[in-house]
């Protein structure tokens, strides 16, 4: 099946364009999404993508024709305006970020719908294709769209590299950055603007509703594997691009599978996999660590019990019967073997005896003086 798809990919120019487009989009979204996630602005993407609708509608009303770049510019303007509104509500009132996002998201979208339905009732409106911005249609990507996307991706990569130090500082300690004399407001606006640009770029491909996941999922997955910002940004870009390519491949090889939702589900799979299997923060690893800790605790409890039996004897290494341990629950054959492996006890058939090391370990167990 994979071979079949690769053959198709080699022959089909449109498919090549779409694959390239979704890959570039995924990479840019992953990269810029990392900043959004770390700034706790994860849902900004959702709000801005919904809020771009009135911009699209207004450009359409004014120009009357469906010029792709014009619509994108409209979306961009309206996205930026919405970002300003969100910021204004958060900083000037006691309403919290979630409420501000909810207000802007829903009222801007409602206004967009008002305009769109108004347009649809105008006599010569060629409104078909506007709907694709709601759900996205990767299939309508043209070569020129993809070149534009690549150019924007290049520019945002350049900006991220140029302002790397500033971005990083604002991300982790905005107050300190301010005291060092950096223009935090400018850097802040720069990051937000590029996030808006990435969102607008993605509207055509994955649509308004799913755009936020494109931004978030790769970054959230990448976050689980590393604590370094540089690595996280690169990983997120990689995850995003892979989601794009794989999602496009799956939707191209099956009937009736829209590309946007498939890409989002693939990205979500990356997240689930990372949540479970990441070696440091992952749920599986944490569980294993928990089990190991519990085991160790039981082992030490056994050792402590032995120590209490032995401590009044003159010869600490005097052998005792294993049966003595029977009324104590913490031991198994395996745990005795592990204790022996660590040179804490000596086993001799049905007898055990504490070693010097075992005795001292148990003695200092509670006092931590090892």
């Amino acid at each position: 099946m994979i071979n079949e798809y690769l053959n198709l990919l080699l022959k089909d120019y449109t498919l090549q364009i779409i694959t390239l487009g979704t890959a570039v989009l995924g990479a840019v979204c992953g990269m810029l999404g990392s900043f959004a996630v770390l700034r706790k602005q994860s849902l900004l993407g959702d709000a801005i993508s919904h809020a771009s609708l009135p911009g699209i509608a207004i450009v359409f009303l004014v120009l009357g024709v469906k010029s792709n770049n014009g619509l994108l510019l409209g979306a961009l303007a309206s996205g930026l305006v919405s970002a300003v509104f969100i910021k204004g509500i958060i900083s000037k009132t006691h309403l919290k970020a979630d409420t501000a996002l909810g207000i802007v998201l829903s009222t801007f979208f409602g206004f967009g719908m008002l305009l769109l339905t108004y347009i649809q009732k105008l006599p010569n409106a060629n409104q078909s294709g506007l709907e694709k911005y709601l759900f996205g249609q990767a299939a309508t990507l043209l070569a020129s769209d993809v070149w534009l996307m690549t150019a924007i991706a290049g520019i945002s990569l350049l900006i991220v590299l140029l302002f790397w130090k500033e971005f990083k500082m604002v991300l982790f300690d905005p107050d300190y950055t301010k005291t060092l004399g950096f223009n935090v407001k400018f850097i802040d606006t720069l990051i937000t603007s590029f996030i808006v640009i990435a969102i607008v770029m993605g509207l055509q491909t994955v649509g308004v509703v799913l755009m936020s996941a494109m931004l978030l999922a790769p970054a959230a997955a990448a976050r689980q594997w590393t604590n370094s910002l540089a690595k996280m940004v690169m990983l997120a870009g990689l995850f995003g691009a892979t989601s794009g390519v794989v999602g496009t491949a799956i939707s191209a090889s099956a009937n009736n599978l829209s590309t946007g939702p498939v890409i989002v589900l693939i990205a979500t799979l990356f997240v689930v996999f990372s949540f479970v299997f990441s070696p440091i923060r992952g749920l599986l690893f944490k569980q294993i660590k928990l089990w190991k800790n519990r085991n160790d605790l039981k082992l030490m409890k056994t050792l402590m019990f032995m120590y209490n039996l032995v401590k009044d004897h003159e010869d600490i290494s005097h052998p005792h019967k294993i049966q003595l341990l029977n009324n104590f629950q913490g031991y198994t054959k395996k745990s005795l073997k592990r204790l022996q492996a660590e040179d804490l006890i000596l086993l001799n058939r049905s007898d055990w005896s504490l070693t010097e090391k075992g005795f001292n370990t148990a003695k200092n167990l509670y006092t931590q003086e090892l």
Binding site: T93, I103, L105, T107, G110, L116, T268
Partner: protein, 386 residues
Amino acid sequence: MTNAQLEIQIILSLVAVACALPGVFLVLRKMALISDAISHSILPGIVLGFFITQDLASPLLIVMATLTGVLTVVLVEYIQKTGLVKEDTAIGLVFPSMFSIGVILIARNAGDVHLDVDAVLLGEVAFAPFDRWMYNGIDMGPKSLWMIGTILTVSISLLILFFKELKVATFDAGLAASLGFTPIGIHYGLMTVSSVTTVGAFDAIGAILVVAFMIVPAASIYLLTNNLKKMLVYSALLGVFASIVGYWIAHFLDASIAGTIATVLGLLFFMVYLFAPDKGYISQWYKIKQQKTEVAMLVFMLHIANHEEEQERNVNHLQEHINWTSQLARKVLRLANQNNMIVIKNDVVSLTPKGAEFTNKAVSYISDNKNAELEGIKQNFFLFRG
């Protein structure tokens, strides 16, 4: 006004009230975006329910959709508890994937399903009066009117029954737990009501604009009052007002009713945001401006009090010493002079007895920062606001 128009307005008003009530608590609990998440992720529930019943108004649909709504909340909370990502990221991860599943389910069965994602996302209340409930051949009115009416009745009864618990759990979850109110139970109850309301409202106003109906009235009223009961009543009224005004504007423009209502709500919020006394943009801006002047004045007075030497107190020297623009320096100087805090003789500033007393008070306030003195100081400040 025709009968259908009246029915549409009644349905819209009921939806507005039904949404505003849980919305108030969502806004207060800083969970406004949960409504966004629920409204999107009920899609797979609706689709599955629709596969089974083939009827958009069947009770099973509501049950399935409510279940997916609650499932969303549970998933979000589970992810949050792992501590791997922040809460907002958890929301942003869950609902798009649920929504994607819904879209794919519809697309895969496009042939035999007459369900449109647009219909779920955008809704259309204009058709509501045509889907009527016939009982024994008698016309009982539109189905959606009955549905939203039932939901509203249930949520109002729940609200009255559990008002005290909701209030305590919202403002002090710890206290609620210690009083034995199980904040978790209240939380899931609220989530269930929100889900049910979202489901009941989506075919009238669409899933995305449910968020507007829930959040915007509550947020607007929250800028005007801190009283929970007033918030509930006024949010509901604001929702109804916006619905009826929005309906007629939409009628006039021949545009989407839900979209127009959301726009009206947005405009109303914007007005409140600008003009709310005390918490609005303009009043905040004014307050901050005054505080800046007050601080500048205080800095100035302390500076004068700290320097005995005449050259340090020269009018021209001041400007460079405190690093002010000449405009600000002139303004502060004039204000202090007007309030008899200082006298200027030969371009040298000195404190009057009143100014010295004020400065002493301010210093002692700043150094012990006692609340009791705060009030007196505030009144003193009020003297030279002018």
